[in-house]
Each structure stands twice: as C-alpha cells, then as structure tokens.
Symmetry: C2
Subunit: 224 residues, 2 copies
DNA sequence: ATTGTATATTTTGTATACAAAATAAGGAAT
DNA sequence: ATTCCTTATTTTGTATACAAAATATACAAT
C-alpha cells in the first residue's frame, strides 16, 4: 500500500510577525507553561493591559488559538482555556500513536543517513540528561525528537497534525514524567527506537513509537 | 497494541452563531464551491461590502480560515485562497489514507450494530445514485459516508483531523470523479468496504479504505 | 522605450468608540 | 434568610477612525 513520496523536501521562507502573531504566541506560552490554567477564564481587559495591545489583534489571536484547540470561545460569554477531559487526552494519544507509527515507518524509507544520524545524536543527548537526572532538558529534547521524526517523514500534513497535538498535550505530558519509574520505562522505549533506527527497520520503529504513546496514556492518566 | 476505548460517546450542545462564524462559513463555502479560486486574492473591501459586515468580524473569520489551512495570510500583503500543490494533496491523501484505515479498524470494534447498519444504508443510497448517474448526490453521500466512518470510530481527534482534511480536499476530489472509469473503480472499492463492514472485519475494512484513498491520488493528480 | 524616483491611492494593521448582551448588585416581597 | 425582580456595571461584539505599509501612477532622465 505504501508509495514512496514522489516529492523532494524544500526549505521555507521566514515571515515577519504581525502583532496578532506575537500575541498568539504569548498567550500560547502562558497556557502551555501553566500560567493560565485549564478552565481559567481569559480576562481580555487584564491581558490586553498586560500585553500592551488593543483588543483587535488580541481577539484575532484568540480566534487562532481557538482554531488550534487551545481555548474555547463561548459566544457572548468569554473565552476559557480549554480543559482536556480524559477522553480528549486518550483520543489525542491514540491518534498520535498512529501518526508516529506512520512517521516511524516513513522515515526509514525516506530520510537520509545524515538525518537518521541526527536523530540518533539527539537520542544520545537525551540519554545523557537522563543519566544526570535533568528532567527539563530531557523533556525538551524528547519533544524535539518526536517533532523531528514527524518532520523527516516527508509528509507536511502529518507534521502539522503531529505538531498541533503535541503542543496541546505539552503540559500534561510533562506532568507524566514525574515518577522515576515512568521515566525509566520511557527511556527504555526510546532505546528500542534508537535500535530500530540504526537498522532502519521502519516496521519495528513504528511499532515501538505507537507502543510508547499508548504507554504514555498510562503514565499521564492520573494527572488529568 | 489496540486498546478498546474506555469512554462512551456523548451528544454535543448547539451553540449560537456569532457574526464571525457566519462570515467564516460564507467564505468557506465560496472557496469550496470554487467561487473564490485557489490563488485568488481576498478583496476585503469588496467582500466586506458584499457580505454587509464590518472589517472586524471579517478579519477574525480570516484568522479562523487561515488556521484551518484554507487561506494564507501574508502580513501586510493581503490574503489569498490557498492553492494546493501536488505535494500538499499527496501528503493529505497519504495521511487521510492512514486515518481512515485506523477509523475502519476502530468502527469494527466500537460501533453498534445499528450504526454499522446506518453506514450500509448510506452505501446502498450511493449505489442507487451511481446506477442513475447522479454525480452530485453521489458525491455528497460519499463525503457523508467517510465523515461518518470517522465519526463512529469514537475518537474525537481523529474525527476533527479527518473533517479538516476532507474539507480542504473537497473541490479537488470532486474534480477527480469526472471520468466514468474513475467513478466505476471508486464504487468497486466502496463495495469492498461494505463487504468488510458486514463481516465487521476491521483489518480488511481499514485496508480497503487506505487503498481507496491512495487510488484517489491517481484519480485526482492530473486535476491539480 | 526603459529605468528610476517621487507622489498619490489603495490596502492593511491597529486603536478607539459605541451597541448589545451578560453578569453583578441592590433592594422588596414572601 | 431566600427568592424574585429591577437597575447598575462589566464584559463582549461590532463598527468606525486613524496610522502605517504597500502598490499604483505620473513624470523625468537616460
């Protein structure tokens, strides 16, 4: 069923940022870093004041964030930071599992040796952080690893969807790494990924990645 | 690897529409129905006049559409209707193939008999239109069929992503049904889906659906 | 004719102002 | 005290106004 992608990859141009974009980024960070907790009402007057912009770009930013699924706009009743139900998280992880399974298979077919090498380097970095017990850097490298796998799969839509879901799950997954035992098992799974990568065994890689994501459900489900 | 979803399905409330939403819907229709061709610049002054709204809700609608991938906002240079490159379409179909493969597997596990029956009824409807040569109604039922498969898979994220991609491909897929031979083969594939559905054979259903989508690439690729 | 440059016009981005809706506050009646 | 209703106050939605940027136009110099 698989077709090898008939298109090469290409670079993207850098665009200038409008106020709207900056505001969207700022709010996104506030949400992801937990300064705006899920369920919190988004106080326009306050935030507009705090960010020093007028309501027009601010509200445009809200539309963007709503479309991304980070907030919910209730007509005439204000916006709130979206609170993920267990159902939401499960469905996102289930989907992500399949997306990354696909990505895993595809990179083994499509990525260059150098690119695979880059992934393995990233993996080594992660291991180092793990051994030294540096949770935050590990976490960031982990995000980077998964993003890059999706990136290198050579399917832009896949990358976009993965990025969106990963962003929305960011906070929750961070919490999931709290228990040491959880971290150990996650690292073990990453070791398996690295092994599959070295062999360019797409089937195995996909399998491990999917399993990894479904295990993530077990690791995070009590934190919701 | 598969877990059966630990959550039941539930109904959703109906929300009132803001002006912004109405405008977004209107423009979406204009794009999907081809009144605003891909690549076309979106003339704010003209459309705002035509729709009888001010620029504020109009521009908010643009943000929403941009987040959905239907238009592209180039800062200070206006918005254009997004033109899909062959790469874009391929990547969307490749992804869609995997999403619907997953959906096919899941409905066989999770959907009720009545729901599967509903799908088969829809299929019969489609056949009738096919035999009578009514392309447009067939096309609409087809969209409905694929949407409902994703709906019944019981994974909200999957449904959302499928809906988004399907919407963006709407026009192009319509064009793909032009040649009679193409239509014949698409219907043949749908017959296979129905057969798998009747047996609740998720593996087979997923397989056919994925194949169906990859064949769609062949059916549409010359229309881009 | 072509290129370049200066000026006018249009288009886009943001702020403010006003209207409508929702929420909160203040009593009166039970 | 609790419920209901009425009236402020706040919050949200939309329109308009102004600023900045981009594009088009006109004209001169080569």
């Amino acid at each position: 069923m698989e077709l090898s992608s008939p298109f090469p990859m290409e670079a993207v141009a850098i665009e200038k940022q409008t106020l709207h974009d900056q505001v969207a980024n700022r709010i996104r960070d506030l949400i992801i870093e937990g300064h705006l907790a899920p369920g919190t009402r988004i106080d326009e007057t306050m935030l507009v004041e705090q960010l020093g912009v007028s309501r027009t770009p601010f509200r445009e930013a809200l539309r963007t964030l709503a479309a991304e699924g980070l907030i919910i706009i209730r007509p005439s009743k204000g916006s709130i930071v979206r609170k993920l139900t267990p159902q939401d998280v499960f469905s996102m992880l289930e989907l992500l599992a399949h997306l990354e399974k696909l990505a895993g298979r595809l990179i083994c077919e499509r990525a260059s040796d150098a690119q695979i090498d880059g992934l393995l380097k990233l993996h080594e970095e992660m291991l180092k952080r793990y051994r030294e017990g540096d949770r935050l850097p590990y976490y960031k490298l982990n995000q980077e690893f998964h993003s890059r796998v999706s990136e290198l799969a050579g399917n832009e839509s896949l990358r976009d969807v993965q990025a969106n879901i990963q962003a929305r799950l960011k906070r929750i997954r961070f919490l999931g790494n709290s228990k040491p035992a959880y971290w150990d098992s996650a690292v073990a799974e990453h070791e398996q990924m690295a092994a599959a990568l070295r062999k360019r065994d797409g089937e195995a890689l996909g399998q491990v990645m999917a399993q990894h994501l479904m295990n993530t459900w077990d690791r995070v489900k009590d934190h919701i």
